[in-house]
């Protein structure tokens, strides 16, 4: 739930005085896309992404208005983003997800005071979601649409129990103003029968085709 336990602590960082070539080499060697820029004591100064690097070098390649080399950035400090959006170890993963979506960035350095202690990327969040919802796991997804009534959810769980379905995960989300959508992952080869039995019990189980709108 909290950012602290989930963040990457073994960090690859760079100083403000490093050249763009050094930064590019680091990104490639470690297969990452963001480099926090720090100074003495891991104090966070800014962040530089591979997009920033690309923009800086491409811009230089096609030259400025005068066609010359003047003004072309040479160090990381010149191209880094200084106003970094950060998290704290006590923040939750919801916070991380909301910030990443809201701010449209790819990585969030985690700080204590102004000291860098970790980093959380979009990829990390995705893998946390995938693993906690067992998306990559064995099983088939069934979607059931229910009226917005908790008693119906209890009834669904009861029916799945009676059918002895091997349920791997169950996610309930609001759908429209007065329905729920329940996403059930079941580990059974005979999904067709299961769907049939759910429909017999009065549940709305749309076919996949109906969602492709």
């Amino acid at each position: 739930m909290f950012v602290g336990p989930r963040m990457k602590r073994a960090l690859v960082t760079v100083t403000a005085g490093a050249t763009l070539e050094e930064a590019a080499r680091l990104l490639k060697a470690h297969r990452i896309h963001h480099l926090p820029v720090v100074e003495e004591g891991n104090r966070l100064l800014g962040i530089v992404s591979d997009t920033d690097l690309r923009n800086a070098t491409l811009g230089g390649m096609f030259g400025g208005a005068d066609g010359g080399d003047s003004g072309r950035p040479v160090t990381v400090g010149e191209i880094m983003t200084r106003d970094v959006v950060t998290l704290r170890p006590g923040d939750t993963l919801d916070d991380a997800m909301l910030v990443l979506t809201h701010e449209r960035i790819g990585a969030l350095p985690v700080v204590e005071g102004d000291r860098l202690v970790g980093i959380v990327t979009k990829a990390d969040i995705l893998s946390a979601l995938v693993s906690s919802l067992d998306i990559g796991g064995m099983g088939v997804r069934i979607e059931v649409v229910l009226p917005r009534d908790v008693k119906e959810v209890a009834r669904l769980a009861g029916v799945l129990g009676d059918l002895r379905a091997e349920v791997r995960s169950l996610v309930l989300a609001p759908r429209g103003a007065d329905e729920y959508a329940a996403f059930v992952r079941v580990a059974t080869i005979d999904v067709g029968s299961l769907k049939g039995r759910l429909r017999e019990a009065g549940f709305k189980v749309p076919e996949v085709a109906e969602f492709l709108e």
């Binding site: 006590g90 919801d94 909301l98």
Partner: protein, 622 residues
Amino acid sequence: MMFDTTRTTGGFGDPLPESGILEGFDRLIAANRLFGAELNPTVIKKSGKGAPFLVCPHPSRSRMLDLWHDLFANRVPPHGFLDALAPEVLGLAHVEGLLLFGKDRVLYDCQIARGDEAVGHLTLCFYREREPVFRFLPFPRRPGRRIVYIEGISLTAQSTGYASSLFRRYERLFHDLGFHRFRLKASLSVGKYYWAKEGFDCEDREQFAGMRESLHALVRRLGLPVEEQEIRRLNHASMVAAFRRDLPIPVYRNAEGYYAVERDASHAEEFRFPLGKAFLLCSAPWDGFKVIYTDTPRRTGYVGSDRYLDHGTRPGHVESPKRLEALFAAIREGGMGESLILLEPYVPAMESLRAVHDPAYLEAFREAVDRGDRQFAVRDCSISKGTYAAALLAAGGVMAGIDAVFSDRADNVFCAVRPPGHHAGRASAMGFCFLNNVAAGAHYARSAYGVGRIYILDWDVHHGNGTQALFEEDPLTFFCSLHEHPSFCYPGTGRRLEKGTGAGRGATLNIPLPPHAGDTEMIEAFERDVVPSIEAFRPELILLSAGFDAHRDDPIAELECTEDAYVHMTRRVLELADRHCEGRVVSVLEGGYRMESLVSSAIAHIRTLQGREVPPCSSARG
């Protein structure tokens, strides 16, 4: 009736007729106990009965009457005043008490005696500050706060506890008379307190010149923005002393909250305080750590009404009338009603409410109550026949509080209201809230009193989502909320990244605290984030959404604070309010669902608002 409102405050009732006051003057003049006073142009002598003023013939009766009216509103007769100032305490009495009328102040001068033996003397000074009408222009001026200070006191009998006992009585007396400040101006080695020497030990002209020179040197050394002119104007030792005492100088604080006069490796954080206070902070025996509060209790207003009990909720619902019943009873039984200024809430004009809420929403709310529905909008918002009226009166209660602080009837106010308000949005009821009381108060302050910057601090354990949404785009209304983290606590909003939108970006501050956080975390977050934001915002009014459900005994959420956190935050808010908005704070009850902790926390909060029974503490950690 909740309180006996026929009882007048502290024995001083309606103003007396002028003839009575004039008669009182005549009586005292005949008994040689009333004279005039003018400032002594020569320097004073330390020993003997020296005073910084000379006794002279009294001014005209009409001048004296004007002064008496200005200072005491004619609520006390002259000899009654002399009697009140001279209680016998610990076997010591006042003799030869005189009333002296200066140009703009009244002095009380007496000898202190044990039986026949003279053991000391006391001089008090009563005056009224004159504050500029427009902040940046020195003139015109209007009457401001009433101040009483100790011009001089000496006692040969030390450590008897006399001064403390006497001052304790004086605090009550001056408070009842409507005085705002009771200050120690002179140097004292009386009692337990050691104060900066104020320069009354000044024997001759040469020494006086030395005092001025040392003040010059101090100003030069610290590079303070003081003009030559300002120092040259000080032509009396007491004036030099007063100037020195109030001169703001830089002091430096270290991480533990200790102060030093010089900056060094550990004392790095700079603060500016008047020199008198800086001296106290930096020197033993207080370990540079403690601040002594000499102000009299503040005049705290209190809004409450039995009509709030008419808002009924279903059986078992935690937001029940019993919460306020218990609080009202505790205030009554604790005798606090006598020291609070009771204010009546009123039903606000519909326009005032429409400034906050959608008219259709207000209609729907009223209709639901009239129809006899058991809930409005959501299950949490349980209602009864009396709900609509109570909700209107709650919003009106905050407005009554605002009226009181802006008409100088009170310095600060606590509104014991229900239903609470901070979850209510423009057209939405939720979380036990229907009308947003604090928002209504803020809008009212703006439209009725032209208030500009308003700071709303919400320390209820739940995020004040309604208030935040209402002022999200408003750069003039700063909204700050301390609450349990939204991932774990209703209503699931109030993340740090929510900082306001559009023109209001940067005028919203959310401070989520993890579950099981307590006083330490709350106070740390408060000092680190809230205090600087109030300083930077420079509000003209501070509103508190004071819920007490972050208490560890409150079952509704998982924070574990105690009364200490509320006392600390209240005290600091008052300090900041003193600096920026003349102490104007209106505090409004929100949540708090365990009777005992709600009552004890609210009472601790109100006592702190009053400035009573508050032990000395540092600013870093109470």
